[in-house]
């Protein structure tokens, strides 16, 4: 634990970060920025795992392992999403979600 910092403060930071990510997810139209907002949300969740692990169960590494799996899954997700973005750009020369309006090109 960090001396002088309570769990509630860390959780507040992660909550604010999560909702900033939600805001970006709702207002942006560019696929890549949506992806980046998603990363913010995922990281807020990862901070929660780590903080709970450190403050409530310091003897077990379970929260750390969840954060590790979360990072691995986020890497998978980004790799696929970027493959899709590049393919999309090749077909319609844009990466805005509103311009993707055909089912089959």
């Amino acid at each position: 634990m960090i001396p002088g910092v309570s769990l509630i403060e860390i959780l507040t930071v992660s909550t604010l970060m999560f909702f900033i990510g939600v805001y970006g997810f709702l207002t942006r139209k560019n696929l890549i920025t949506i992806l980046m907002s998603l990363e913010l949300m995922l990281n807020g969740a990862a901070i929660n795992f780590v903080a709970f692990n450190k403050y409530l169960y310091p003897g077990q590494p379970n929260g750390q392992l969840f954060a590790l799996f979360l990072i691995a899954v986020a890497a998978c997700e980004v790799a696929l999403a970027i493959a899709i973005v590049i393919n999309l750009y090749r077909k319609i020369k844009a990466v805005d979600v509103e311009q993707v309006n055909t089912l089959k090109h």
Binding site: M1, I2, P3, G4, V5, I8, E9, I10, L11, T12, V13, T15, L16, M17, F19, I20, V22, Y23, G24, L26, T27, R28, K29, N30, I32, T33, M36, E39, L40, N43, I47, V50, A51, K54, L56, P58, G59, Q60, P61, Q64, L65, A67, L68, I71, A72, V73, A74, A75, C76, V78, A79, L80, I82, A83, I84, V85, I86, N87, R90, V95
Partner: protein
């Protein structure tokens, strides 16, 4: 000292993530995201989970952000500016987010977390042993599942992003006199 560092880090995390969400230049917001992820790695180092911090730096800051920057480099012009979203969307999203954040923080303030005082162990060895333990609270099965997921994603990404030569050839043949 740790307290001051924590406040600096959280200020950096919050301000850079706000800038990343609000910036109108795409690459700049990717750079702000890079700053956020590095600051979170710093937070992990501060809390004492060095392995997790290093993994965060390697995978997130060194891998995912580089991938995102690559995709921006491939699909955008340098003077591209994103249009500002219309105000109704901003208002609805902002109201939702503020309401949600206030609600969650209210919930947090009211809750009591019971702390368990356990003497801390050297974390890297327990981490490795738990990760590769086939039974008794071990995480071997998720580990293998994640590795299969990574393999599947690698193949999937290659298949999706690969240029389809057959389609191009047929279209060229049609155009040829």
């Amino acid at each position: 000292m740790e307290k001051i560092i924590f406040y600096i880090l959280s200020a950096v995390i919050l301000s850079l993530s706000l800038m990343s969400v609000l910036s109108r230049k795409l690459l700049r917001s990717a750079v702000y995201l890079f700053g956020v992820l590095t600051a979170i790695a710093g937070f992990y180092f501060l809390i004492g989970y060095h392995f997790l911090g290093a993994v965060q730096l390697t995978v997130y800051a060194g891998g995912i952000v580089v991938l995102i920057i690559f995709s921006i480099l491939l699909t955008h012009e340098i003077d591209h500016q994103m249009p500002t979203p219309e105000w109704s969307r901003v208002a609805v999203a902002g109201a939702l987010c503020v309401a949600g954040a206030v609600m969650f923080i209210q919930l947090l303030q009211g809750s009591l977390f019971s702390r368990v005082e356990v003497p801390e162990q050297s974390d890297l060895n327990t981490l490795g042993n738990t990760l590769l333990n086939p039974g008794g609270g071990g995480y071997l099965l998720p580990f293998e599942v994640v590795s299969i997921l990574l393999l599947a994603v690698m193949i999937g990404a290659i298949v999706i992003a690969k240029q389809r030569h057959s389609v191009d050839n047929s279209s060229q043949e049609k155009q040829a006199p």
